[in-house]
Symmetry: C2
Subunit: 459 residues, 2 copies
């Protein structure tokens, strides 16, 4: 925010090598803003600026930097500086940073950690990708349920400095198994000589360390929480997940779904930084599959070559008809996929959805059918392009559009159910995929209707 | 979570009218789970079950219920019960509840509030839709910067009960203008006789009450916060926004973008509960616009009617060609729109994106062009469908596909920039919209290439 406003000024100070003033400015700046500035200045100045940051700020600032800039800084920093930064990073951000790097580099970096932090890092990196273990932090405050509030408070005062999030603390039994969560509010409002157990209400929820990240998203939405404790299979408290971590997960998931929906593999990297050939590869895959599917249209049309030769006018409406089917199909697929992702509809709702979509498809088909017929009616009064049989051609278009739109709507809405039923990701039924599927059938519907209505006149 | 497991048991207890056991069960249940159970039991039992909930739980449970069940309960509860629930709801959830109801009902309900809560409700409802004012809560703890830590702590103990979120408190000057935010951690770790000002660092960020909700999303992502203070134009602290509110906003926005991207207006309501005719209307709008656009294909093809009559074989590849353009265009549009939504690319990056997309389009077009040519080569060795000029037809397909895919990729990626430049939502450049645009030009490219290569032989 501030970053952009004063950036020219800061650049001047860097050019003038005015470190003292810069140091002052950075010491009053939010680490996120400092990170913005470091991202915007020329590469050669980044390491210098980073070094003049106040110690405490530099750790935080590093966490806020984009991955490629972190990697670049990493190369220019001395081993000792690097060790210090890595040791001071919060464990969840460090895991995220490390998992982007190639294996040998990670090994190298983990060796720089203190024995204590190394144990944490190795443990977090050991959890499967996309598991809660990867986004949790092992920094939390646990108290025994038999302690007095006074003891709880003095415990918080003692170890609070090391812990990022102290607004909720956790009560465990003497072995370390979780019993409940207690908010700092409840602690502050309780009498100092009461026992922690007295302010427990046993209504906590928890995540398993092996659960999928998406589970955390669901629970944060369901329970409106700021933090959720993470336990292992024996119910021992091993970490916490906080709401800010989940905001990133939600955005990532929406991006994946949207990209799949656009008819390609998820990029998993920002558009602007993903290597060009990697991106082309991810896009070519689906494009080629769709192309093979779409080749069936050429085969299908081969069967109707004689009809087209007899009545070339039929060819004119082919793009109009197949795109109407594709568009209505992509609408239906979008709605179904998103409703599934949000948990609004489940597999067993297929019949409810089908009923809705049959009616919607019929109505939408009627609307387009009427417009299509009117187009032929109006054009016919100005020119003779459709010949003497314009009325029959109009009728063909009318019935075809109803059929094609209904079919598009129905297959667009049912395909995600089919995919889900077979354990595949419903988001794969992308707009282009549905359109391709509907194109082939749309042509068959078109020429069937035309044969029925036009044989003896045009055909 | 628990809800589904013990639901049969609970239904049995309801049928047996065993209120005492039920009361016990509900008193130990998370309000969110109680809300799940109330949603799942038959309508006629809901009000009864709701009435046996412990007071404190019933307010919370009401907040967790879906809007239509809240409305239904509202009708069955006595005025006094209703007044109590409304008065105890947290102000931000109450605003959300009230804004869904028709105007006269809102007036009626606001009259049930205590004068204090009424003032809050009227104020929050007065902020524009989609503004921060609508999602903030006016419950927060403010302290004066000159107070001692001891006084701050006793203030928190005094008014903390009334306030939902106390993990961050706010320091103001004597007039109430915000000076800084202080975490409860900083308060707890400070010496009791030091002054609040001493633990301030003046690095807070804030939102204006009239800012758009999306601003809150951006800031939560940028700063990894749990709470952001909200100020008015004079910098007076008027409320706070918490991370859990923002999680809902993010999901809503992703849904809107995805639905627009599927080629329709955003539904603004869950798929399963939105009235059928309202949904059909929202879908029909775009479908009709796209249909009118697509009619241009019929016009364009009218110009090439003689070519088709001469070489019917050209018609066979029309669907294949236009869909390849549409698919590559929808990929490019998806990538660009999402990258814009995430702030990865901005308006000034158009040239960088264009360069990438020209190369991608060329490569993707080459891949499809080669496959298309091979298809004709292979088919030709089995049958005589393409006649003696199969090689020229294959070449036509090859060059057309390169042209169409490049054009699709380019227009798909640039359209979001054009829309954004003119202040429109880039997400409007949906897959179907791009496909329609590319269809017309795709046909022109096809027949132009065909005329160039085939005149004198087939044409």
């Amino acid at each position: 925010m501030i970053g952009q406003l004063i950036q020219p000024e800061i650049e001047q100070l860097i050019n003038a090598r005015n470190w003292i003033t810069l140091k002052e400015i950075f010491s009053e700046m939010h680490p996120s803003e400092t990170a913005d500035i470091i991202s915007d200045i020329p590469e050669k100045d980044r390491a210098i600026v980073f070094r003049i940051l106040p110690k405490e700020n530099s750790y935080k600032t590093f966490e806020y930097l984009e991955f490629d800039i972190q990697e670049e800084l990493l190369k220019s920093l001395a081993k000792e500086e690097l060790a210090e930064i890595l040791n001071e990073m919060s464990p969840d951000d460090r895991t995220e940073f490390l998992e982007e790097l190639p294996g040998p580099v990670v090994k190298e970096l983990v060796r720089l950690l203190s024995p204590e932090e190394r144990a944490i890092a190795v443990k977090l990196l050991g959890y499967p990708e996309d598991s809660i273990g990867r986004i949790m932090t092992p920094d939390f405050i646990a108290v025994k349920s038999q302690w007095t509030i006074e003891k709880v408070l003095s415990h918080i005062r003692k170890i609070g400095k090391e812990v990022e999030y102290i607004d909720t603390i956790f009560a465990t039994d003497s072995a370390g198994k979780i019993l409940d969560e207690i908010t700092i509010k409840e602690v502050l409002l309780a009498k100092p000589d009461s026992i922690a157990e007295e302010i427990m209400n046993n209504t906590y929820v928890s995540l398993n360390v092996m659960d999928d990240k998406e589970k955390a998203v669901e629970m944060f939405k369901e329970y409106d929480l700021y933090v959720i404790p993470v336990v292992n299979d024996e119910n021992y408290l091993v970490g916490i997940v906080t709401a800010d971590d989940v905001i990133d997960v939600i955005e990532e998931e929406a991006t994946e779904d949207i990209q799949k929906f656009g008819g390609m593999e998820a990029l998993d990297e920002p558009y602007i930084t993903v290597p060009l050939f990697q991106m082309v590869r991810k896009r070519a895959g689906w494009l080629v599959i769709l192309f093979f599917g779409e080749m069936l249209t050429a085969t299908a049309m081969g069967f109707f070559e004689h009809e087209i030769a007899k009545a070339v006018v039929l060819a004119l409406f082919i793009p109009l008809i197949i795109s109407s089917g594709g568009n209505s199909g992509s609408q239906a697929a979008t709605l179904t996929i998103r409703a599934m992702a949000l948990g609004e509809i489940k597999l067993i709702d297929w019949w409810r959805v089908m009923r809705r979509e049959i009616i919607s498809g019929l109505l939408l088909g009627l609307v387009l059918g009427i417009i299509g017929f009117l187009r032929i009616l109006v054009w016919n009064s100005f020119s003779n392009i459709y010949g003497e049989h314009w009325f029959l051609i109009g009728l063909t278009l009318f019935f075809t559009l109803i059929g094609v739109v209904m079919w598009g709507t129905l297959s667009g809405s049912m395909l995600p159910f089919v995919l889900k039923r077979f354990g595949l990701d419903p988001a794969t039924s992308s707009a282009p995929f549905v359109a391709t599927m509907v194109d082939v059938t749309g042509l068959i519907i078109y020429f069937t209707v035309a044969t029925l209505l036009l044989t003896g006149t045009l055909l």
